[in-house]
Each structure stands twice: as C-alpha cells, then as structure tokens.
C-alpha cells in the first residue's frame, strides 16, 4: 500500500530555482554596466566569486552529507556569490573573492545549517568580516573616468586580478563620495563646498560615474532590477520602502536643520550600497521577518542604522553593519509582529460573539 498523499494535489509553478533565476536576471543590467565601467578586472572578480562560491558550496554540502547536485541547482549560492561580487571593490584581488565567498558560503551559511537556516545575510556578513580583516584592499576604489580613458586589456586585467595592489597602475584609484564627505566634514569643511569641489551632481550617482563597489554605482539600473522583481512578485515592497524611508527621512530632517554639516536625503539614497541593499539584500527572505509589517520595520531599522553609521560612526558606509545588526533582531520582530488570526483578537482570544442582526 502506498503512502497516502495529502492535498493539495495541485501546485503553483513556484520553485526556488526559478525565483533565484529571476533575481539573477534582475541583477544582470547593473552588473553588465559595471563590467563596462570597470573593465576586465571587474569581470574576472565576478567570475571568481561565482566559481569559488560554487566550489565552497559543493565542498561543504558534501562534508555535511547533503545532496550536492540538487542544492547546487537551486541557485542560492550563485545569487549569494553574485551579490558578494557586487559588494567588493571593482578591482579587488582574486583572494579577496575566494576568502569572501568562503566566509559567506561556508561560515555564514553552511555551518549554520545550510539554505534557509542562516541568521545573517551571507554577502553582508562576509563583507563586514573582509572590511575588518583587510581594510586596505576593501577600500581601494577605482575611478570610472580613469578606466574610461585607458581601459585595461585582458592581460593587464588578469594581472590586476591575480597580482593584487602591487599591479595596480597609478592614477586609477579614487575615493567614494561617502569617503570624501566624511573626511572633509571631519576637517570642518561645509558639505556644499565638498560636493561642489567634487563636481557632484545627483545624476552622476544615478548613472554610476562615481567610484564605489563593483555593483553599487548605478542606482538607476539597480532600481530597474528591483522594480522587475516587484513586478514578478519575487520580492515584496515593504522592506525596500522601509529601508529607503529609514535612511532618507532622518537624513532630510537633519540636513534641513544643518545643511552645511549633513548631506540630505537624496544624497544618501543615491550614495553607496543603499539601492543594492534595498532591492537585493533586505529582501533576502531567509534573513528577514516573515510578516509584511515585520519586513517594513526591518527595512526601516536597516535604513536608520545605515544613516546613523554613515553620519556619526567611524565608517563612511554602514549598510552591511546595519543589515547584520537588524538580522539579529529578526526573531524578536517575528515574535512581536504577527498577523491577527481570523476570528481572534490580536492577543489570540476568540472574538466576542455578536448577534448577526446587522443592518
């Protein structure tokens, strides 16, 4: 006698692999644009991240006696590696990619129990570890204008990737906007002077002509990918909106009070990894709350912490720290923010019976 199978016998076409494929599709425009901006070394780095992540994933799946093939096919490691690549400096050396994906896949994900069990967002936690362990390599930014003038060919691209900073030609490196504002503000320069000195226009941030991590420079294409995911219902809007509001509203408020000391909301929205985080990081279901309201609170917390760290902390960029901190509050959020059960009060008691003689 066969084991009886419970309903439902019908099933939606939703599959994890298909969802992951959609995420990759959404990441593709921003990634391709970054390849064009930063040339071969960026492509090398991205490829290395993917290959090494799949290697670590396979190795640790095998170590934990899990079916390697089935889990490699679900695409979760690929997406983690992809996002990891987008969070690294564009010309980062090869070992940064390999160590980074080891931290993300092996330490953060597999050791915590594999897919669905990790507490922290693998890409963000790995980025934080790398930043603390290798501060120089993790803050060596490349100026896109310099790359546009003389892009490295395949051979010099490989040299940059595999020989590290020693092979980095002069004249390519630059600071990110957040770096510049933080440093100049520390010296007492007014924000407007710093920005005009840097020839800052918000449109530059939108089209990505500012130094930064591999994939965070093009806000417009990241937004496009995010809207695509929203349209395909791969992600929900609560966490992204929460994050954007959480960062923009306090920034706008403080900037209004002291415009020469603090940059405004639009600056913060377009700078650093905020757009990437909004649509591809705080929307990671594993490390986010499960309710709609919980996700909004989670996003809001991420945004607020990001702005606080950027404005008052020691680091110019705070997205990764903010996400990690909020990840650790997810069980708490899920405990206190729950949907109301049909026919019950928020406390869980049955609703009082009212005679149906309405109207």
């Amino acid at each position: 006698m066969n084991q009886p199978i419970h309903g439902p016998h019908a099933h939606s076409s939703a599959q994890l692999g298909a969802l992951m494929l959609q995420v990759m599709l959404a990441l593709a425009p921003a990634t391709l644009y970054s390849f064009w901006l930063y040339g071969w070394p960026a492509f090398n780095l991205w490829l290395l991240c993917l290959v090494s992540a799949l290697f670590w994933e396979a190795l640790f799946l095998a170590l934990f006696h899990k079916p390697v093939g089935a889990h490699l096919k679900d695409g979760s490691a690929t997406v983690t590696a992809w996002i990891m690549a987008l969070c690294l400096p564009p010309w980062a050396p090869w070992w940064l990619a390999v160590v980074g994906t080891f931290l993300a896949i092996a330490i953060i994900k597999q050791i915590f129990g594999g897919l669905g069990q990790n507490v922290f967002n693998p890409a963000m936690a790995a980025r934080v570890m790398l930043l603390i362990a290798f501060p120089v390599e993790m803050t060596t930014w490349i100026a896109p204008e310099a790359v546009a003038i003389s892009p490295p060919d395949i051979t010099s691209g490989l040299a940059i990737t595999f020989q590290g900073l020693s092979a980095l030609p002069d004249g390519y490196s630059g600071a990110t906007l957040l770096d510049a504002v933080k440093n100049q503000s520390a010296q007492g320069d007014p924000v407007s002077a710093t920005l005009s000195h840097l020839d800052y226009r918000p449109t530059d941030a939108i089209i990505g002509l500012r130094g930064g991590s591999l994939g965070e420079s093009t806000s417009a294409l990241l937004l496009l990918g995010g809207l695509y995911l929203l349209w395909r219902r791969v992600i929900t809007w609560q966490a992204p909106l929460g994050l954007l509001l959480g960062a923009a509203v306090p920034a706008a408020g403080l900037s209004l009070a002291a415009p020469e000391s603090y940059p405004g909301g639009v600056f913060h929205l377009l700078a650093g990894g905020l757009m990437l985080a909004a649509f591809f990081i705080v929307t990671d279901p594993v490390t986010a709350p499960i309710t709609a309201r919980g996700r909004f609170v989670f996003g809001l917390g991420c945004g607020l912490l990001t702005w606080l760290i950027r404005t008052f902390g020691n680091y110019p960029e705070g997205v990764a720290f903010a996400v990690m901190l909020m990840n650790s509050t997810v069980p708490l959020i899920d405990r206190y923010i729950k949907p109301r059960i049909y026919g019950r009060t928020r406390k869980g008691d049955p609703l009082p019976i009212t005679e149906g003689r309405t109207s």
Binding site: G7, L16, L19, G116, I290, I341, R344, G348, G356
Partner: protein, 487 residues
C-alpha cells in the same frame, strides 16, 4: 457598510473549461451499487434490510443513529446481495461496512414516498425532520448532516441563510452546471431552508468566473426576495468563514459556530436536494459528479446514483487517455487521493479527477527559505512555516499555540510553497496526534477517577467492617454484662 476583502488566498488555474460546457447527463445503473453506511460526518447508519431482501427505489435501507448521523436510501429497486466490507473512499483504503445492491432495472419507487403539497405551510421543525429523514448532507464535500445544522440553527435563531455557489476548487463544475440547469430548484430549496430556520434573508454567493450560473440564478431569484451576489474568484472563496465575511461582513469568532453569529451556510447542491426531498418526495439517492482531469478522454458532469463504483463511472463515461498519475475524489486542493477505482460514489463525491503527472506536483520537498509566501496566502492569518517547523521538531503544543486549531486545511500554503513542503500533511498529522493525545489524557483521567473510587470504596468497606466488629463487640459485652447483672 464596508466590504472586507478576503485575506490571503491563491489563484490556482481553474481548468473549469474542461467540463463546464458539458450539460449534466443521467448516468445509467451499474451492475452493483455499494452503499457505505458512513457517507457523512458523525455516527454510521444502522442497516435495516437483510441480505436477499428486495428493496424499492428511495426505500430506507439504513437508518440514522445518534444525534449526528444520516440515513441511507436505495438508489434504485433491486435485491440486497451483501452486507459486507467494501473499499471506502478514504485515503487509507481501509474497508467500511456497505450494503451491496443488485439493481433489477425496473426502477420501482417506494410507494410510501410522497411529495408535500405545500411544504412552506409545514412548521419549521417538521421541515428539519423531513430533510433529516431524506438523508441529506452537505453536498459541498463536508457531508455534515444538513438537518442537524438546520435544527441547531432554528434553535439558535439565525438571521441570514447563505447559499454557497463559490465552487472555488479547480476542475469542479458540478455546482456551476447545476446552477445553470436547475436554478429554480436551487432557489426553491433555499426558500424552504429559509423557512426551516426562519431566516430573515437569503444571499447566494457565486464566484465571478461563472457568469452563466450567475445569470441563471439571478433570473430564478427575481421577485423571490433572494439576494444574488457575485464574489471575486479566489481560492478558498467557498470556505464558510471567508464567504460569510465577504457577504455579510461578519468575522466568525474562533471556536464558535456560524449559527452563533446568526449565519447559516449551505451548498447550492444541498438546496436542490432539499427541494427534491420535499417537493418531489425524492430522498438523496444521486448526486452530480464532475469527471475531469487531463488523463480522461471525455470530461463532463453526470448525475450519478450513489453507490456507483468509480471504475464503472469512468469506463462508461470516458476511459483513460493515459495512465493517471493520481486519482482524486473532490477537488485538487482539498480532495482526497483514492487508493483505486473500486470505491463507490458517495454523498460527498463532488468530483472524480484523474490527473496526469503534469497536473500534480511531483517535486521533492526542499528546505524552507522563509519566503513567507504561505503567510501571505493563508486566509486565516496563520504562519504556516512556523507551525510546520515546530511540528517537525515534535512540538505540537507550540504549533497549537501558533493557531493550528484555526487552520481550515484549505491548502493555499502548500500550493504556493516554492520548496513544495507538505504543509497540510504536517498540520493534519499534528491535529491527529493532538486529538489522540487528548483522548489518551481523557482515558487516563477516567482510569485515575476509577482507581480513586476503588480506593475510597476499600477504605469505606474497611471502616464499615471495623464499625460492625465494634458493634458486635459492644453487643457481646452488653450481653455478658446482662448475664452477670441479674444475679
């Protein structure tokens, strides 16, 4: 008045077009009919016929027993051939006691059956009794005895009678066709039920993916004081709690009956059965069954005598295009898997589906990534992923505290789950486990009480014996004293 939206829910592909254009056809008699004594929720019926006895069409062959039960009637005239166990339409495939009837083909009606000339003139209690003696149960699939529901609603006093024409399960079109072909019977049945429970108003709710049924019912309801409302197509719209809320705005409190909130809901097919019982003197001996699924050659709707084996139905009406990957009784969302085709059509058989591999989910369950699709899909506002995680860890009580008792088992969560987790399976398992634990605890309590009573009895007996002995000693002493006294 505000109109609340249905929370959660999913949009499974309807597949209604496979069978919704085919009119209901009468199904001929099979060589043998198997009438299980339990075709309803509650206590099984008691057989009142003997093997070898000749019965007529509509004759009572098994009477209801206890407060929640329903009688069984002969679907045709013929001879009782056996009173034995037969495969039940239940996923376990375990046998149930069934009456085997061999039709004689003469279709002779039981002469004692007679329609009521003016049922609306009968007292409501009498209507409830007649519905009960006609063996009518909820034909939507729940098979709760209709008279029990009517009787308790009459006692409690309900305001609104809701007729459920939702039919939100994919594939099924039996109610759709019935509403198109016999709208007058349905409306008249509804008015009878309204009288039986003395309801102030009647509302028919029909999903908007059935425009023909909606038009037919609207036409039949004209001037009858019956409100017909179109509701959005969204699974599980046909679930009582969801449809009641959408039509009346009343959110039925947890752990209460609909009647407590002044609402009674019945399926449209049940209303038609009530009409047939009272106005035609015809007890529940057949029902409309949707035959569908891509594995069949001809999908359609058939008015099938109860007890007809599913194999006979499929062989006669359709045949297979390919070997079905799964056989289902009911809809694909909440229907049950059939062990084989030997099972008979019973009162709750709204459909028999033969699905191909493509139509069912054959994916192996994967890890949960907390995507929360189930949380969004749950019409009850539960957190299926958390409940499932606790059940997997064996913590059933925690699952219950998260709302396991409120789960209606609609399957929206399993349907949407990208990891193909068997969520409903886990919930049913935990519900069963908790119920058996409760039974166990009650048994323990009983044993303890008995043991305690025995203890008390022993103490009492010892004390009584002691008292008796003391009395005897005292008597003996008195006697001895008396003997000495006079001297």
């Amino acid at each position: 008045m505000f109109s609340p939206r249905l929370r959660g829910g999913v949009h499974p592909p309807g597949h209604k077009e496979l069978s919704n254009a085919s009119p209901i056809r009468r199904f001929p008699l099979a060589e043998r009919l198997y009438l299980p004594l339990q075709q309803h929720l509650g206590a099984p019926a008691t057989p009142i016929v003997k093997v070898g006895e000749r019965v007529r069409k509509g004759q009572l062959v098994a009477s209801s027993q206890g407060t929640v039960s329903a009688p069984v009637h002969a679907p045709t005239s013929g001879v009782v051939r056996a009173l034995a166990e037969h495969t039940a339409p239940h996923p376990s495939g375990l046998p149930v006691l069934a009456i085997t009837l061999e039709p004689d083909g003469r279709e002779e009606w039981d002469p004692s059956l007679a329609p009521v000339s003016d049922p609306l003139a009968l007292p409501p209690e009498e209507l409830c009794l007649r519905v009960g003696s006609a063996g009518i149960v909820g034909l939507g699939g729940a098979t709760f005895p209709a008279a029990v529901k009517l009787g308790s609603s009459l006692k409690r006093g309900v305001d609104t009678l809701i007729l459920n024409g939702g039919e939100c399960e994919p594939y099924l079109t039996c109610d759709d066709r019935l509403m198109q072909e016999e709208p007058e019977s349905i409306i008249r049945g509804a008015l009878l039920m309204q009288h039986a429970v003395q309801a102030r108003r009647v509302i028919v709710g029909i999903e908007d993916n059935k425009p023909h049924a909606l038009a037919a019912i609207r036409k039949a309801a004209e001037g009858q004081g019956v409100e017909v409302r179109s509701v959005p197509s969204r699974y599980p719209m046909g679930s009582q709690k969801q449809l009641v809320q959408l039509l009346t705005g009343i959110e039925l409190p947890a752990m209460s009956r609909a009647a407590d909130s002044g609402v009674l809901m019945h399926n449209v097919a049940t209303a038609r059965a009530v009409y047939q019982a009272l106005c035609q003197g015809r007890p529940l001996i057949s029902r409309v069954v949707t035959l569908s699924g891509q594995a069949l050659t001809h999908q359609g709707n058939w008015e099938v005598p109860l007890g007809t084996p599913a194999s006979y139905l499929i062989n006669y009406a359709s045949g297979f295009d390919c070997a079905p990957a799964r056989l289902i009784m009911g809809g694909p969302m909440m229907g049950i898997q059939l062990p084989d085709l030997n099972v008979p059509v019973i009162k709750g058989t709204s459909g028999i589906l033969a699905l191909t591999r493509k139509e069912i989910n054959t994916d192996e369950p994967g890890p949960c990534v907390r995507c929360a699709g189930c949380v969004r899909a749950c019409p009850m506002g539960l957190q299926p992923l958390e409940m499932a995680a606790n059940i997997r860890n064996g913590d059933f009580e925690k699952a219950r505290s998260l709302g396991l008792d409120d789960c209606v088992g609609c399957g929206a969560c399993s349907y949407i789950c990208p990891a193909s987790l068997p969520l409903v399976h886990l919930f049913n398992y935990a519900k069963g486990e908790l119920a058996s634990r409760q039974r166990e605890a009650r048994k323990m309590e009983k044993t303890r009480a008995l043991a305690q009573r025995r203890e008390e009895r022993l103490v009492r007996q010892a004390r009584e014996r002691e008292e008796l002995m003391a009395a005897r000693r005292a008597a003996a002493a008195r006697k001895a004293a008396g003997e000495e006294g006079p001297s």
